[in-house]
């Protein structure tokens, strides 16, 4: 045992170096986005490009807000994603409870049906859903963004069921003996114990609605109903090579996601570990 071990030191240096390179690869695009968003419309085309703007043009952000209603997009996105999240939490935990705890005819077949629908590509449902939404008159309204998602998908139910299966049955049996009905067991015993997985499902469904592109692209057509992602896409259509404004808009869309990630990263990463391995 020597204190100085050259191969170990070399290995350590290699690890640090690779981590540094990876961090640059991951973060440089974001740095470049923010820096570009602060350049003048002339400065953005200067070659070779500068690593810092000559003049910090914060007014680019004002121009973005003037050019497109990003505030409206933001509120719409919050409204859609929070509504869907609440609906999913309620309906998926109810159904997960039924699958995990209650015995009823056809339970296993029904659960297999749930699993099977997870395999279907989104394109298969999107074409007929467009026809249905059109028939209902929901196109380009908040209803098309919220109602179909409100009842939760098979994934959330699957997640809730898997987690509830791991909770010891003694707890709900004790409550049953004390004369509690099923709904009380669900609200007073199960829900408090499933808080960790509820937060995972909450973050997942929030992210899914927040980041979705194809659904709003197909279903929405006027700016007053747009989400942030669709708003950014339509902004790109108008300002195709106004790179500084485009990057300012991209930064605006990024900020709420980054903030949310800073708070929820533990749930997101742990949730993915759990669902990835058990799903």
């Amino acid at each position: 045992m020597t204190h100085f071990n050259p191969t170990r030191l070399l290995k350590k240096a290699f690890v640090f170096l690779s981590m540094a390179v990876i961090l640059v690869v991951v973060l440089l695009p974001f740095y470049w986005t923010v820096i570009s968003s602060l350049k003048t419309s002339g400065g953005i085309f200067v070659y070779p490009p500068k690593w810092l703007p000559d003049r910090w043009v914060w007014s680019n952000y004002v121009d973005v807000f003037k050019a497109a209603p990003f505030g409206r997009y933001f509120l719409n996105t919050v409204f859609y994603s929070v509504s869907v999240m609440i609906g999913q939490l309620v309906s998926c935990s109810l159904a997960g409870f039924a699958f995990a705890r209650l015995k009823f005819p056809g339970r296993n077949k029904l659960f297999l049906l749930y699993l099977a629908t997870m395999m279907i590509p989104t394109q298969v449902t999107q074409v007929p859903m467009y026809v249905l939404m059109r028939n209902y008159g929901w196109l380009d309204t908040w209803m098309v963004m919220i109602i179909p998602g409100l009842f939760g998908g098979p994934f959330g139910t699957f997640l809730m069921r898997q987690f509830m299966m791991t909770i010891p049955r003694d707890l709900d049996e004790a409550a049953l003996i004390d004369g509690a009905n099923l709904f009380t067991i669900y609200t007073k015993v199960m829900l408090p114990l499933t808080k960790p997985v509820l937060s995972v499902l909450g973050v997942f469904s929030l992210m899914q609605v927040w980041n979705d592109f194809m659904w709003p692209l197909i279903m929405l057509s006027s700016q007053k109903t747009f989400t942030l992602t669709l708003g950014l896409y339509s902004f790109q259509g108008q300002y195709y090579t106004d790179w500084n404004l485009l990057m300012a808009a991209a930064t605006l869309v990024m900020i709420p996601v980054l903030l949310a990630f800073a708070f929820a990263q533990r749930y997101i990463i742990e949730g993915i570990t759990v669902t990835g391995m058990k799903g």
């Binding site: 070779p48 309906s91 009823f104 074409v127 007929p128 009842f151």
Partner: protein
């Protein structure tokens, strides 16, 4: 008869609550997933543009797809190319990243979270940003290449490079996700295996191939299946970055479905296309299942 209805009532009383718990979720599944799936299947046998009544055409849509439509093979080929580029690439890079992160070190969780950031961004945001980075004349990547003395690349403007460029971006976006899943698999390997191998005098390289790789087959399978299912449905990246160009070089199958359904309003044809995609994904998943199974380790997928 009376006995029967009494039994039915008792069954309702006994199992009614269970169905009540299921009702919102299952009702939603029927109305917004199962019914549309069946509806699309029916539509795929019709000629329908939404504005005049649907015409039953039997298998004509499917026949047209395989025998008449040159874009079917072209866009399917592009999509397969994208799958082949992103899935193995994503697996190798994700695994390397996980091996790097699988160590006790200060700040490793911060590193893990940082690598994960691209994954939580929307595809549209990332695509808009990378379109700028890939800019041929003044983009960051070509600037860096020219600084280190390498020839610049027509990332999104040459037919040969556009798909690889989109694939690089996708791998960059997904590598944190893959790494986190692989990391969970690596952490689940009991250390006794490594100790035993070390006593037998195995090198690190040998240990990776004979201990690590066989024992993370479940993660490998999971990422392989999930990322190919996702990759076959690729849409937003080429749609936002190149709109299928230059020429048709990045027109993928998902975009062609979109065009048929929402540009040409050829609903029947688009439904047939989406069912073909479903079958292709299904076949691909079964092949992967077979290949991983023959690799030795049993898969406990559920």
């Amino acid at each position: 008869m009376k006995h029967r209805s009494k039994q039915f009532l008792r069954a309702i009383k006994k199992h009614g609550p269970a169905y009540l718990f299921l009702l919102p979720n299952f009702g939603g599944l029927i109305a917004f997933t199962i019914y549309p799936i069946l509806f699309a299947f029916f539509m795929s046998f019709t000629d329908w543009n939404l504005f005049s009544p649907a015409q039953w055409v039997g298998l004509a849509n499917y026949k047209d797809l395989f025998t008449w439509d040159p874009f079917f093979w072209k866009t399917m080929g592009k999509t397969l190319y994208y799958v082949v580029l992103t899935v193995p690439g994503g697996i190798v890079i994700g695994l390397m990243l996980a091996l790097l992160m699988n160590r006790a070190m200060r700040g490793i969780t911060i590193f893990r979270s940082a690598v994960f950031i691209p994954q939580v961004m929307s595809l549209v945001t990332v695509s808009v940003i990378w379109r700028w980075l890939y800019n041929t004349d003044i983009g960051l990547f070509n600037y860096i290449l020219s600084v280190v003395g390498l020839p610049t690349v027509d990332w999104l403007t040459s037919e040969a490079m556009v798909m690889p460029s989109i694939a690089i971006m996708s791998i960059w976006k997904g590598m944190g996700y893959n790494a986190v899943i692989f990391l969970a698999g690596l952490k689940a390997i009991p250390s006794v295996y490594y100790e035993a191998a070390r006593i037998d005098g195995a090198s690190n390289w040998r240990m990776f191939w004979s201990v690590t790789l066989p024992l993370i087959t479940p993660s490998l399978f999971f990422i392989g299946v999930m990322s190919s299912i996702g990759a076959f449905q690729v849409f937003a990246e080429p749609f936002v970055m190149t709109n299928g160009g230059p020429g048709d070089a990045s027109r993928v199958y998902g975009m062609y479905i979109y065009q048929n359904a929402f540009r040409f309003f050829d609903m029947g044809y688009a439904s047939a296309m989406s069912y073909v995609l479903f079958v292709v994904i299904l076949i691909f998943t079964i092949i992967q299942l077979r290949v991983t199974k023959s690799g030795g380790e049993d898969i406990s997928f559920m």
